[in-house]
Symmetry: C2
């Protein structure tokens, strides 16, 4: 049976949705969920739920990372945070994975520098996220861990995300693309053109450059960008769709027939909302650190927490860490043979 550590102090309204999500996950997956954080607050929250027969444990942590904490200093300033404690449970094999809906930058630096550290050979961990829109799912990396990247880091993002796509999407040979301003080989910036050469020379299933519109067409499984561009990509998608939804809502209220039409079309809008709901997926795996870490959205509700836990268990079942270790080391071996 799997043991998954959850940061109870992670989400914006913690520990309410975090604890509720843990209860949902313990019930649905029959795993042990270890709630990490302020023990009295967690116990008080747990008391509000029906937990008999569920495997829920609590591990106390005297500090909590907030959204205001700086990624560069929090690892040093708050060594007893629930993130430290939870990640160390994974490091010491007391848990199989760690899930948090907390500060992404802090999780990255605590994982990389203070607790789990990088898998041997990994140059930079990448934050990879699953984008789903119009029925297609794509893994996008890096979406924010590294603002300035080198081509060999981009190659590793591709390798690690392919390893993740293999079991997350249950496919053998994920199609990998680079995000660019045009499909032609001459397009892209310098980083993209140099990364394309490296990925092309690897044994990944590289399909070339794609533009944003191609991401919605189902022709790609993994799209690689530097952490600055990837972050702009997912934030632009989110802002565009939520703004459009808002415009539609306003216009539907502006005249009587439209208002009535909106009432009748409620089932359709409910399906649309579900199709574009970022919480349906859960969280983003932090790839390249030596342990499964899933980072959820700060605005996660209980269901989103449960889904992030589901992602964590899929990653453990799929043996993500071993797959990344193998992918990174075999590419490194191939590269040194070429020299």
């Amino acid at each position: 049976m799997m043991r998954i550590a959850l940061d109870a102090m992670g989400s914006d309204t913690c520990p309410v949705p975090d604890v509720a999500g843990a209860v949902l996950a313990a019930r649905e997956y029959k795993d042990t969920i270890i709630l990490v954080g302020d023990e009295p607050r967690i116990r008080a929250e747990l008391a509000k739920h029906e937990t008999s027969g569920l495997s829920l444990e609590v591990v106390h942590a005297s500090e909590a990372v907030t959204m205001e904490d700086k990624a560069s200093t929090v690892g040093k300033l708050k060594p007893e945070s629930s993130m430290h404690v939870g990640m160390n449970l994974v490091k010491n094999t007391q848990a199989d994975a760690f899930v948090t809906a907390g500060n992404t930058g802090a999780a990255l630096s605590i994982a990389t520098l203070y607790t789990l550290k990088r898998i041997k050979g990994v140059k930079r961990p990448s934050l990879s996220t699953v984008i789903t829109l119009n029925g297609h799912s794509i893994i996008c990396a890096d979406v924010g861990a590294n603002a300035d990247c080198k081509p060999d880091w981009m190659l590793q993002f591709a390798i690690m995300s392919s390893a993740y796509a293999r079991f997350a999407f249950k496919i053998d040979n994920p199609r990998v693309a680079l995000l660019a301003n045009g499909e032609e080989e001459s397009k892209g910036n310098e980083l993209i053109r140099e990364s394309a050469h490296l990925i092309e020379a690897s044994d990944l299933n590289f399909v070339g450059n794609v533009e944003p519109k191609d991401l919605f067409k189902g022709s790609v499984d993994v799209v690689v960008a530097d952490g600055f561009v990837g972050n702009i990509l997912i934030k632009t998608m989110e802002a565009s769709t939520s703004t459009l939804v808002q415009v539609i809502r306003q216009e539907m209220m502006a005249d009587l027939p439209s208002k009535l039409g909106g009432l009748l079309a409620k089932p359709a809008f409910r399906r649309v909302r579900k199709a574009i709901d970022p919480f349906e997926i859960g969280g983003a795996p932090l790839l390249g650190v030596d342990g499964v870490v899933i980072i959820g959205h700060g605005r996660s509700n209980a269901n989103a927490i449960k889904n992030a836990i589901r992602q964590a268990r899929t990653a453990v079942q799929g043996n993500l860490i071993a797959a990344i270790r193998e992918g990174v080391s075999s590419t490194a071996a191939a590269a040194s043979e070429e020299l």
Copy 2:
């Protein structure tokens, strides 16, 4: 009276929408529109319209740029293209501005290297576009002219786009921001952080870094990005909204009440479509070349062509070229004083 040269061979379905747009503009604005391109085809197309009393001229060009032509070679390979001929009309003061819905890269290289050339002191021209969504308009630069940029180019994009925003939006002191992965000063990549220092030290109204969601809030007038990121930004906006519209359309057809609701809500959807219609604006000015050049969308219809012509006349009336010349030279003067 103004004289505006229009590339009749520009749009994807040229010369049909191009000529129709010219007729609409000549009627509405009472300007002289000079149609540049294959004279027999233009005359044949013009014959389908009621043009009496309108000031329409035709200037023959024996070649036309296509979407397949490479930006790097087309200037040399097709020296008699309608783009060359039209831009030279501006250069020789036979026209006040040039408008095309043709190949953007080709227009950029023909303008910069073969005809109008850069305004003195301009390091790189930028393609600036007006984004309108949710009632707010923003000028975004660069959206594709320069994939790899330097901080001093970014400063000039900000200067040139501010000059454009001043009369396009009729505001005195446009608020300028840099597009980044977070609002904090520590966010951004190296290029953004260095550009922020330069723009901060200039006399522009710099409001700092913004994230994609801030673009829809009306708190910024000009947003600066390198041409790679700016291109990804606008293409992601376009792809996200059009995909969402498609998802909504599918779901509205999937059950009977929703279908009926969709029929009733038609007026609302018409308003939504207008609010997110890229053709409402017209085109993107190519800033930094020594003459007013507006580049429209290849899929432009007659109305989009007319709107691009309107943009061109606004730029001429606002004395865009003089404003850019002054902005660029005064910043250069300030920088050399600091040395």
